[in-house]
Amino acid sequence: MPATLRAVLRGLESALSSPPEEELRVRFAMRYVAPTSIEEAVSVLDGAVAAQVYAGATDFIPQLRMGRPEPGVAVDLKRIDRLTDLRREGNTWVIGAATPSARLAEEDDLVAELPGLVEAAGLIGSDQIQSRASLGGNLCNASPAADSVPAMVVNDGRAVIAGPGGMRTIPVASVVTGPGTTSLASGEFLVELVFDRPPPQTADAYLRFIPRTEMDIAVVGAGARLTLDEAGRCQEVSVALGAVAPTVVMVPAAEDILVGHTLTDDALKRVAAEASAVCNPIDDKRGTKAYRRQVAGVLAVRALKLAADRAARTGS
């Protein structure tokens, strides 16, 4: 860590030790640091009390505006090359945790192989938001309604995490533990997200419901991924729902119902019922419990159909 940065943080820490937090916020505005390597970021976080990493700040800044207290230090992750990368590595896709969503849609091979993931990321906010919003931020903000998370989960995404203890990799599905909370330990941050490239006859899809056509937070989101055999029967099926429970919920029954079968209306009707049943939604300003349950079933089916169409088209 550069000496000046360390001095800043030390000054901040000694200040933090005495006055109560309220006063402190007034006298000491939030500091900004932009480490350029993972190691530097780890040591910044290790040294600083009340530091918060961020990527696009599309959640972070609105939350400050809504009255959340400023952290002592905001750690901008975007100057670390690996965090804003997007690459094919062997049989995987590796997406930097701070890579702006807009980049995903610009990578033609990624669009071809993981269209559902790309469309989920592409649904986050407007073009302006797309220039900033990251998968890492979407995941770590831990909103139940985050659009990319169901799509990451159905694709068995893995999260690479850096921290004082080094690097570790965990399933995306186990990052979020509840609304606004994650399993990341203090001083840890997300480095990248890793997805296996899909086998033949496999495709994903993500759909969400919002009252407008843009600029809304999902009332319900549904990600689906499936692999078809030559006869169009499902070999593998995965369905995940967003915004209908504190964290993303899977619909395991979809697998039981569909594996070995084609997507008949009858089977899909049963999947819809199961999807509605696994929901544990709330009533809020964006929708009611009953609405979320019902539409979860609708979207699960629509996402499955879309994924199946795509899988059929990918050929072998």
């Binding site: 009252p211 843009e214 600029m215 809304d216 009953a290």
Partner: protein, 760 residues
């Protein structure tokens, strides 16, 4: 930099400029970022002001301790309600300018009670925003939290929490001796309602519920106030009327109006919501105390919590009609939320709901009900949209039951010249029928619909206002003209003023400089609201131009040494009737002005009457997703009587803007409160105004049935466009699904519920 754009030349027969579409004069500044809006002024030594707002919907203020805030570094002034005089009731405004000083002063700074979440109760000025916010956090307020009420029915219940101990219902006999939340009762009672229903072959009756909605202007309220050593205040702010800001600010500070000068900033939208003051008097008092300029810019959150909105309502209406589709009687009751202080537009709702029709038997009651939310402010055709949602939905139902085309039903009952309106006066020439026919003849009305698609029509009425306006016209040395008015330009009114001046003076529209002058440079002018500017301010401009032309002719007569009667004004030149003298242009006459009597200038002032009423009829095509309840607007068309379109592009713009706001109101916009009375969606992400991808192109047909009360036939065009959309959308949803939606917004949740309840 010069404007490269060229105007199209589709002027009206008989006119050279009226009806053309020149590039607006203020356009260049607005597309290059140079135009100065309310928040765009910074002065040396300027302080930043911030307002402390109540976290409670209803509470008694036991104490406010500002001493800690006052002592903080960087804090230069602190004010509370105690710093403003207590005003008492009295004073009457007209139209959209109605206000009661007692309420206004308490709304701007709470006194003994806070009446809604977001109610201002103290303010500070400090050297930075950070310090100002810190100072707010250091103000200690002791509240006695009281039960609150938001729903009109609950507010009228016998055990309801009472907002004002001194509020006695007006308009009821006998006068009640107990206070209540019903501020007034308004009644329209005409003809014989029982006889009317007795004549009816069908009677339909329904109850409707609508939620409060915000004007949603993109520019938050912003002001810079600077009180000088001489005690005079200069206020720079965006508003719909800087004379209104002057008089309210002065009154609330206990000053004479002339102590305040208001410089109008460009205004980033108002729609009625900027026809009153919020932070202007506060900034002025802070500046006076601190001895430095003070800027206050509201956050979006404050705009939602403390300004606007318009009323939510509960409406019950009953309509009777004969088999052949003649409306025989309407009866009903409307209760509107006034917000924390009396003054909802419920009476206007009663007047407008059935105004397009000739109906003899009418009994309508309107109740103005105070509740614990922000005091409502005017919003585009105040009061009419919710009432017309109810009335126009019922008419659709009548048409359906009778098997008559809904437009035909409207034509059969259409009011026309000589008919007495539901609200009283006899109509002069009006263009309602023509708007209905325009929709009927438009290709959209016969476009084929697919599955899950439906079509709905609705009509609407708005009065339009006239009122006081002033204008001054100067002929410059180069023969060009400056036109000064006191009407802020929200949507292209400078261009309209210039067009009318060009028409009168006969010079090129680009040789006119239309200026919105400050309160010391032009005569008193009422707010830009009530669709009054092109009409009333336009009349002042025309009058002033005519005076100038008279003067120009006199100057020419002097030069030629002839009788003024022998001088004609043609195409911007003085001509002698004989034709044997070289005509003189404004430039020639201006050059010689010193010798003919000095500078050429004239002013005029009007209190315009005869603002012609406006009608709109609209058709909406929707598609409903039966599985999610989502409603997509496929096509939309609006026909409106503009009397005479001075600048058709901006007339179309008003029509389209009104429709878009109406669609938002119809589908998604609403104030959502939690159980404590706190607004849960005070931002654009969850207060869902339409975005570009939500809407189709909005087709417009401008109908021109000239208003006999204006020299060119102008009618106001700003407001009526927002009246029909809610019913048009509801009727289209009915056509698509068979469901009658009687609650706004018709959000996906509500539509899907209705489909479910219908066994869908």
């Amino acid at each position: 930099m010069t404007v490269t754009a060229t105007p199209t030349t589709d002027s009206q027969p008989g006119y050279k400029w009226v009806g053309t579409r020149p590039v607006r004069h203020d356009g260049l500044d607005k597309v290059t970022g140079r135009a100065r809006y309310g928040a765009d002024l910074n002065l040396p030594g300027m302080l930043i002001g911030a307002v402390l707002r109540s976290p409670h919907a209803h509470a008694r203020i036991l104490s406010i301790d500002t001493s800690a805030a006052q002592a903080m570094e960087g804090v230069k002034a602190v004010v509370t309600g105690a710093d403003f005089p207590m005003l008492e009731s009295g004073g009457e405004g007209s139209g959209e300018e109605y206000y009661d000083p007692r309420d206004l002063c308490r709304n701007v700074m709470a006194r003994d009670k806070v009446l809604y979440e977001g109610h201002a109760l103290a303010a500070v000025a400090a050297t930075s925003r950070r310090e100002a916010l810190a100072a707010l956090a250091a103000i200690e307020v002791d509240y006695d939290v009281l039960p609150h009420v938001l729903d009109v029915s609950e507010a009228m219940a016998p055990d309801a929490p009472i907002l004002h101990d001194d509020l006695i219902t007006e308009g009821v006999d006998p006068i009640p001796d107990e206070p209540s939340n019903v501020a007034s009762r308004y009644v329209i009672d005409r003809g014989d309602i029982e006889k009317g229903f007795a004549e009816a072959d069908v009677i339909v009756e329904r109850e409707f519920v609508t939620q409060p909605v915000h004007q949603g202007y993109i520019e938050p309220h912003a002001v810079v106030a600077d009180v000088g050593e001489d005690g005079k205040a200069t206020v720079f702010c965006s508003s719909q009327g800087h004379f209104m800001v002057r008089s309210h600010t002065a009154e609330l500070l206990g000053w004479e109006p002339s102590r305040v000068k208001v410089i109008p900033a460009e205004i980033g939208g108002g729609f009625g919501g900027k026809t009153t003051v919020y932070v202007e008097p506060v900034a002025a008092r802070l500046s006076q105390k601190a001895g430095r300029p003070v800027k206050i810019v509201m956050t979006r959150d404050e705009v939602f919590r403390a300004t606007g909105p318009t009323s939510g309502s509960k409406i019950r209406l009953k309509v009777g009609a004969t088999r052949d589709g003649r409306l025989t009687a309407v009866e009903g009751s409307m209760a509107y939320q006034a917000g924390a202080f009396k003054g909802s537009p419920v009476s206007l709702g009663c007047m407008c709901a059935f105004a397009p029709y000739a109906i003899e038997n009418v009994l309508l009651e309107g109740l103005d009900v105070v509740v614990n939310m922000p005091k409502v402010a005017a919003y585009r055709a105040p009061g009419a949209p919710m009432a017309s949602f109810a009335s126009e939905t019922l008419l659709d139902e009548v048409a359906e039951q009778l098997g008559i085309d809904p437009l035909e039903l409207r034509l059969r009952n259409a009011a026309e010249e000589g008919v007495r309106s539901v609200y009283g006066p006899v109509y002069k020439r009006i263009g309602f029928k023509e708007t209905v026919e325009a929709v009927r003849d438009h290709p959209q009305y016969s476009t084929e619909l697919g599955p899950n698609q439906g079509r709905g029509v609705a009509s609407g009425f708005w009065f339009n206002f006239g009122g006081s306006s002033s204008a001054t016209v100067h002929i410059n040395e180069d023969g060009s003209a400056s036109v000064l008015t006191g009407s802020p330009d929200i949507g292209g009114s400078r261009a309209s003023m210039a067009l009318m001046a060009a028409e009168e003076l006969g010079i090129d529209v680009y040789d006119i400089t239309p200026i919105v002058s400050d309160t010391e440079s032009v005569g008193y002018t009422e707010v830009t609201g009530g669709s009054r500017v092109t009409h009333a301010t336009g009349m002042a401009v025309i009058d002033a131009c005519r005076k100038v032309v008279t003067d120009l002719r006199a100057r020419a007569a002097k030069v030629w040494d002839v009788d003024v009667e022998e001088v004609e004004w043609v195409d911007g030149r003085a001509q002698h009737v004989s034709g044997d003298r070289a005509p003189m242009t404004t430039r020639d006459l201006a050059a010689g002005a010193a010798g003919t009597g000095g500078p050429i200038t004239a002013s005029a002032a009007v209190n315009a009457r005869g603002a012609g009423v406006a009608f709109s009829t609209q058709v909406c095509d929707v598609e409903v997703d039966p599985e999610t309840g989502a409603v997509t607007i496929l096509r939309y068309m609006t026909a409106q009587d503009a009397g005479r379109a001075i600048h058709p592009s901006y007339v179309e713009g008003q029509m389209q803007g009104g429709v878009a706001q109406g669609i938002g109101w119809a589908l998604n916009e609403e104030y959502i409160f939690d159980t404590g009375g706190t607004m849960e969606n005070p931002g654009f992400l969850d207060y869902r105004m339409p975005v570009a991808s939500d809407l189709p192109m909005i087709d417009t047909v401008i109908v021109e049935v000239p208003n006999p009360g204006h020299p060119y036939g102008v009618r106001g065009v700003g407001e009526v466009g927002i009246v029909p959309p809610m019913a048009a959308v509801a009727n289209a949803i009915h056509d698509a699904t068979g469901l009658r939606m009687s609650e706004l917004p018709m959000s996906p949740v509500k539509v899907l519920e209705a489909i479910g309840a219908n066994g869908g």
